[in-house]
């Protein structure tokens, strides 16, 4: 196997899906790539000065401006007539929330930039606070479960739909547990003459609380329950979905994670579990995930 473009020795947690995701993305893109990252776990675990895990040119500026920085990189490459990949790799906080204006600008201007969101569904770098990506009823440090609370009161923001509303020509969801699918999507996205967006389900061991050895299994369950459908949109049309052989109950995915444990301990949570199951079922129906 060729040497990975993300060097070992980075400081991500054991059992974190992020470095695995990044490696898959980088190795699909190849060395002729410039990466832009917002502030977050990725930046702090890979670039403690004077060390760097990046074997491709990499730039970090701020939490909410990666798409704007990438726009500057992309226009200069265009000016230089260079065919180099520009990839933003950021977490869900910068993607869904604080960087939304910058993302919207980049999408709308149509730069040839692939935006990859490693989505671990909360602000993990600052200690597991709720983000716009946090799913319904997840316990975080700012949406804690309690006698008056069952965790995050709102469902996850539909970021792919927001990208699609910008007429982003390639939009996909992917999972760290499906590497072949992810690689294929990255390669396809990089062929697009314009922006593209891939949102990768990337479990966080400290935020979700699970056994380190079960990270891939957990990510696979998210797909098999229907809670994380693997989709692909080209020019606004849904062109492929990853079929599920047999739908697993949502509870099977939820019960492996500390962030949902209150739902199984507290009385009166059965209704909530039913609601989450209904969300999974709605995905199965909407995207025709089970034959």
């Amino acid at each position: 196997m060729e040497k990975s473009l993300l060097a070992p020795g980075h400081r991500a947690c054991a059992g974190c899906a992020m470095p695995t995701t990044i490696k898959l993305v980088l190795d699909s893109a190849g060395p002729n790539t410039i990466v832009v990252s917002p502030t977050g776990c990725l930046e702090v675990t890979t670039t403690p000065f004077p060390e760097s895990a990046w074997c491709v040119p990499w730039i970090h500026s701020l939490f909410e401006n990666a798409s704007a920085v990438a726009s500057g990189v992309a226009v200069m490459l265009k000016r230089q007539k260079k065919d180099t990949n520009v990839i933003v790799i950021g977490g869900d906080g910068s993607t869904f929330d604080i960087g939304m204006g910058s993302n919207s600008g980049m999408f709308e201007r149509g730069h040839k930039v692939l935006y990859v969101c490693y989505d671990n569904e909360a602000y993990m770098n600052t200690g597991v606070q709720r983000s716009g990506s946090t799913p319904f009823c997840v316990h975080t440090t700012t949406t804690p479960s309690g006698s008056q609370s069952q965790g995050n009161p709102r469902p996850k923001k539909d970021m792919p739909a927001i990208a699609l509303a910008h007429r982003v020509p390639y939009v996909a969801t992917a999972s760290v547990a499906y590497p072949v699918d992810l690689r294929k999507k990255v390669k396809k996205a990089l062929q697009v003459d314009g922006p593209s967006y891939i949102q990768v389900n990337a479990p966080c061991i400290t935020g979700w609380t699970f056994d380190a050895g079960t990270m891939i299994e957990l990510a696979r369950l998210a797909v098999e329950t229907g809670l994380w459908p693997l989709l692909e949109y080209e020019n606004g049309e849904l062109t492929s979905v990853k079929k599920i052989r047999m739908q697993k109950p949502a509870a099977e995915y939820l019960k492996l994670q500390g962030r949902y444990k209150h739902l199984f301990k507290k009385a009166g949570c059965a209704g909530v579990l039913d609601q989450i199951q209904a969300m999974a079922d709605a995905n199965i129906a909407k995207y025709n995930l089970v034959d």
Binding site: I59, G72, M76
Partner: protein, 397 residues
């Protein structure tokens, strides 16, 4: 025809500055509309649309993104430009630190304007003075011609390999951006001679992968800051050198760090920034005719703050009055505070008094200047008030 008479045209200040930017051949321009800066970027986009200017012009979603785009382009080796003002500069605040911290030599014209609330679109210098500590060099100009010339000089200073620091060219909003004045527009050949292409040593390049914007822990962070601090101090000589080189090529000189007017024998010295210099010169002419020994020191470079040059230039003053268009609410104001600090450890014990005026676009008149001079003369016998609001309308308080 010599450069002194060639290309002299009556144009709007914003056009003149846009023309100067075009002469600098920027690769990437990124901007967001905000009054009174907008005419600069409108002119630039028209130049691109007409094929006069070969630049990538990005219309973005905010000033925050405008400057962020330039982080990316500058790291790619692009000569990068933006302009803004007031709320726009404030929205850029985070990025300002980032650009200087990453040593990206971006140049920006700031069309100085008041900060809200209350909302006010007119000129003062609160915006840029409020950003004095962000690591950017700040040059304040007196008139449109100086804005033009300082913009070209700014790139030469910013891109010097020994400096590599971003520069703000601060010009009073409306007063300079919207005024029509006769201006020597810059000649392309001379500009190319004066300003070589931007060829930074470190760029984002897959052939030589480098990491930009790593995080620094307590063991190295201080040294990053120190290097910026040192570069600003070093840039003092360069600002002076570039001003002299500019004089050799274009025949105009405004002083490098500072400029004086009737300074040599002046007993009362006014110290200020920006376009109010013109009014003060008129007032001085009138007062000189009456036999009053009044002089002016224009601070061109506010960052770096030229402590030694200021001590030298003001060493014979009997009293110093600072007039500025900003206020440090709860303190005094930027220039007067810095100036007092510059003198504290020197042997000079000249009284220094400060005035804030022209806030939110209020006119500063020759009468106001005379009032300041009268106050300064009184202060020679003892300071009654160290700092005051000029022309305060007490009847509406």
């Amino acid at each position: 025809m010599s450069e002194k008479t060639a290309n002299m045209k009556v144009v709007e200040g914003s056009y003149a500055v846009a023309h100067a930017v075009m002469r600098c051949r920027p690769d990437v321009i990124s901007a967001y509309p905000i009054t009174p800066q907008t005419h600069i970027v409108e002119n630039l986009s028209q130049m691109v649309a007409d094929g006069e200017l070969d630049s990538e012009f990005l219309t973005v979603d905010s000033e925050f993104s405008a400057l962020s785009v330039l982080v990316g382009s500058s790291a790619m080796g692009a000569r990068s430009y933006s302009s803004t003002t007031s709320q726009g500069l404030a929205l850029m605040y985070e990025v300002l630190y980032n650009v200087s911290g990453m040593r990206l030599p971006v140049v920006m014209n700031v069309a100085n304007r008041a900060m809200g609330a209350p909302l006010n679109i007119w000129n003062d210098q609160q915006d840029a003075i409020g950003a004095r500590d962000v690591g950017w060099l700040q040059i304040y100009v007196e008139d449109v011609q100086e804005a033009v010339d300082a913009t070209l000089q700014a790139y030469k200073i910013a891109e010097d390999p020994a400096i590599r620091m971003p520069v703000m060219v601060c010009m009073d909003g409306f007063v300079l951006t919207h005024v029509y004045e006769p201006v020597h527009l810059l000649d392309q050949e001379l500009c190319d001679q004066f300003l070589p292409p931007f060829r930074p040593a470190d760029v984002l390049d897959p052939a030589h992968p480098k990491t930009f914007g790593a995080f620094a822990d307590p063991s190295t962070y201080t040294e990053f800051r120190y290097q910026q601090f040192e570069a600003q101090l070093k840039s003092q000589d360069l600002i002076e050198k570039v001003a002299r080189e500019f004089e050799q090529t274009f025949g105009r000189y405004y002083g490098g760090l500072l400029d004086g007017y009737h300074l040599d024998d002046a007993e009362v010295v006014l110290v200020t920034l920006g376009s109010v210099v013109g009014t003060i010169k008129d007032a001085i002419d009138a007062m000189r005719a009456e036999g009053k020994k009044v002089g002016l020191l224009k601070v061109r470079s506010y960052r770096p703050f030229p402590v030694q040059a200021l001590r030298k230039a003001l060493k014979n003053a009997a009293v110093i009055a600072v007039l500025e268009k900003d206020v440090a609410i709860g303190g005094e104001a930027g220039l007067v505070t810095d100036l007092k600090a510059a003198f504290y450890n020197s042997s000079t014990r000249t009284p220094i008094i400060g005035f804030t005026g022209g806030l939110g676009g209020r006119d500063i008149t020759v009468r106001d200047i005379r009032k300041i001079v009268a106050r300064a003369e009184a202060a020679r016998k003892g300071i009654e008030s160290e700092f005051e609001f000029l022309d305060l309308r007490t009847e509406i308080l």
